[in-house]
């Protein structure tokens, strides 16, 4: 077969137009390429095909009406996307959804970008022909990151697949059936009681207002209105390339100066740049990395700026916690630095200072509220609003971003190098660190600062950078499910990397859940390009060249990676259990003074044999007739997985527990006066 023939054959017909098939996975993608926006709820090019919403129907010659997302394009196929039958079915689907929907559109935060509202309008639905059957359900506001409003859910399952397939978490899923079916965490729990890492990807893909970032605007207004407070903002790198979209500007428009002006316009006293502390993170993390590299420390080093990733490690990979960089994220470093530097610099009283972050991210809301970032009742960062929330605040005061005169960040915490700006994209942290590490190792100024080998779109990318005689091997991961390949290598002792950057959001922070909603699939690429372009226009490209940062170090922290810096800018991590309050009572007794034995059957302890241990204990108790005096529970994760299996006998916690130690402890607990050794042997 010659080439021309293949070319002519590899086309199909959509609404009487000949359209080439170029590797599209389904008819829907071919039609969209041809500029026909077939409506969908349940289709996302990054996720598996679900085929449940029935909106993407088309009429295929010889096959009848089919869901275009589930049909593979074939040469010569003839498709009609706009027959009366197709239009009618689509319309009915939307009408049925509306009949079961909480239609309080004016008070829904997604009103302006709601896909359901848009489709209802597009299909010319003017009144409901079906009897409303909606019964109200409870709204889940438990998490700091997101609000889950099941009343707005259309059951497309996008969130379920995003959470499971992209993040490897599976915090939410369909539950119940028929009219009762809903998307929710396990056991009808609230989101804050399960393994959700607060990445917000579910909210990004949700077509309606069922999953939305939790707003903090009111708290921010209250502090702005309070004359006793000095309210300062820190703005993350990604915000400057996202905010414009909220005001209808092209994806990737760089609006740094106008975003600063926006913050001033709504009343912030000072506006600083999170890129300043991103530069600081570069210094701290690079020093930590070099130290580990030179002293045979734990490698690979994992980056720690993405709080969703940090929580993920804390709950699934406790044994890898030593790999996590101890650096606080740039957001938290900023909080710590602001509280240290600003009272003297501005000057002000410590208690007057309110620190607000503007972030592209929902996980940052969760991060800021963690106990460990709260000193004596005062959090390092008081409030976290998203890019979209800043857009809303600006509109609340009646201003449009486009009409603002650009302003500059305040100093010193508003000055940064391009390295600190790169944190907004996947691969950016790695590149920023390389600009420091390579220069330091080679001992002469780095001329070529761009490391193109770490840029790109793949979920797991590898790169090797040679410095003198050392090869630095890097991996860049986006989407948490992609990290499992690396964690497995580490477990198997075959991990080749020295540094692994992980960001939960595909694309990195520029595509975070706090960015304005975009139906434009190209937005990710445009925002990323804007960050790289922005770096190119800066005076400095290396964090170590930031003069204001050097001054802050000199005055407050001494050397990068030194003792004072460690105290203020680093943190530690904890194991987290994923299931709360779910103990399995194996044996029970009514007696008052019974001894409680709790055996951890969390994943790690389970893998280390706790089931067998539990079984032996139960047999022992039965055989020795102690049922009345002992109650045995199987419990989930005691947050001490490194020492598994864990067992608690009464008040005694036993790490690396064996049957013998548990039995002795039990004997001891039952007969406090008698020394152990008295136990009945198994």
């Amino acid at each position: 077969m010659n080439n021309t023939m293949q070319d002519t054959q590899n086309t199909m017909w959509i609404d009487n137009r000949e359209v080439p098939i170029e590797g599209e996975r389904n008819v829907l993608e071919v039609a969209r390429k041809a500029g026909i926006d077939i409506p969908t709820f349940c289709y996302h090019s990054d996720l598996s095909v679900y085929g449940a919403c029935r909106l993407c129907l088309v009429d295929i010659d010889g096959r009848g009406v089919n869901a275009s997302c589930s049909v593979t394009p074939e040469p010569g196929m003839r498709v009609k996307t706009n027959t009366k039958q197709v239009r009618d079915i689509r319309k009915i689907s939307i009408e049925l959804l509306l009949a079961n929907h909480d239609m309080n559109c004016p008070t829904c935060v997604r009103s302006a970008t709601c896909r359901l509202r848009e489709l209802a309008e597009r299909m010319g639905i003017e009144k409901l022909r079906y009897k409303p059957v909606h019964t109200p359900r409870a709204i889940d506001r438990s998490a700091h990151s997101l609000v889950r409003d099941p009343n707005k859910c259309v059951l497309c399952g996008d969130c379920v697949r995003a959470c499971h397939e992209v993040q490897g978490v599976g915090a939410i899923d369909f539950a119940f059936r028929g009219a009762d079916s809903a998307v929710m965490p396990a056991f009808c729990h609230n989101l804050d009681a399960v393994e959700c890492v607060h990445c917000g990807l579910c909210a990004t893909v949700c077509p309606t207002g069922a999953l939305t970032p939790k707003p903090e605007i009111d708290a921010v207004w209250a502090d702005l209105d309070n004359p006793q407070k000095v309210v300062v903002a820190q703005m993350a790198p990604a915000v400057r390339v996202g905010l414009g979209e909220y005001f209808g500007m092209a994806a990737g428009a760089v609006t740094t100066g106008q975003a600063v002006a926006a913050l001033k316009a709504v009343g912030f006293d000072k506006v600083y740049d999170t890129s300043f502390t991103a530069d600081m993170t570069v210094l701290e993390e690079s020093e930590e990395f070099l130290n580990r590299l030179n002293t045979g420390g734990t490698l690979p080093l994992f980056t720690s700026c993405c709080p969703a990733w940090v929580k993920y490690v804390e709950q699934y990979h406790h044994q890898l916690l030593p790999h996590l960089s101890s650096c606080k994220s740039p957001q938290q470093m900023f909080g710590a630095v602001a509280r240290k530097v600003l009272p003297k610099h501005l000057p002000l009283e410590e208690k007057e200072l309110v620190v607000v972050s503007v972030m592209p991210c929902t996980a940052k809301k969760f991060e800021a509220k963690q106990e460990k970032f709260n000193k004596d009742g005062k959090p390092e960062v008081d409030h976290v609003i998203t890019t979209a929330e800043l857009g809303l605040m600006l509109r609340q005061v009646g201003l449009q971003l486009q009409n603002l005169e650009p302003e500059s960040f305040d100093r010193p915490l508003g000055f940064k190098s391009g390295a600190g700006v790169l944190f907004g994209v996947s691969g950016g942290v790695t590149e920023a660190v390389l600009r420091y590490v390579v220069e330091k190792v080679q001992g002469k100024p780095l001329e070529q600062v761009d490391f193109h080998q770490v840029r790109g779109e793949a979920g797991l990318r590898e790169a090797v950078v040679k410095v003198n005689d050392t090869e630095v091997r890097l991996a860049i991961v986006q989407g948490l499910a992609n990290v499992e390949a690396v964690t497995k290598q580490i477990r198997d002792g075959v991990c080749p990397y020295h540094l692994v950057e992980v960001m939960a959001c595909p694309g990195g922070c520029v595509c975070g859940a706090g960015q304005p909603h975009s139906f434009n699939p190209a937005a990710r690429r445009e925002r990323t390009k804007a960050i790289y372009d922005h770096d190119r226009t800066m005076d400095f490209h290396k964090a170590q060249d930031n003069p204001e940062l050097a001054a802050v170090y000199a005055e407050h922290y001494g050397e990068a990676g030194g003792h004072a810096a460690h105290q203020a800018l680093h943190t530690d991590y904890q194991h987290r259990r994923r299931l709360h309050e779910l103990d399995l009572t194996v044996t029970d007794s009514d007696q008052e003074d019974k001894v409680q034995v709790r055996v951890c059957v969390g994943t790690t302890c389970f893998l280390n044999g706790s089931q067998e241990l539990l079984r032996k204990l139960v047999h022992y108790v039965e055989r020795t007739g102690l049922q009345d005096r002992v109650e045995i529970n199987a419990t989930f994760c005691m947050e001490n997985c490194g020492q598994s299996p864990n067992v608690r006998v009464g008040n005694t916690h036993i790490e690396h527990c064996t049957f013998d130690t548990a039995r002795d402890a039990l004997t001891q607990a039952l007969n406090p006066d008698i020394s152990s050794g008295f136990a009945v042997s198994p």
Binding site: F174, E195, L582, D588, A634
Partner: protein, 163 residues
Amino acid sequence: MQQTTVRNFEKICEILERYERNPAKLVPILQAVQAEYRYLPKEALAYVATSLGLPPSRVFGVATFYAHFALEPKGKYVIHVCDGTACHVKNSEGLVKAIRKKLGLSKEKNTTDDLLFTLETVSCIGACGLAPVLMINDAVHGQMTPDACATVIDKILEEEKEA
């Protein structure tokens, strides 16, 4: 609440082993667990999820999807009153009322505190000729009256006492 016993726990472990902890076998695993407890306690679901390496939300989703699975404990005797058209016409509702009264149950409360009885209605069990019909576990009782319901229940209570 019914307690998980040693026997139950051993059984769960055994079931998981029998299915080689294969996540693809979730449904048969849950069926077997339910056979053991007569319902699916959420602690057991959590344990199954951990053992299979599945998100608990998925296990919960499957457990709540199939009508066959129960998340609340059911009684030792499950009474199914048929409410198909034929039985309905012949006053199946009267049977339900009588049983509720006899057992102290209500619309919201389907299971007795001693976990002996659960009352449910079902649509047509295919014995319309005997309408109104009810089933107690696997036994079909046809042409029932409210009084006959009370008698059947008394008989079971009697047997239970002797056992």
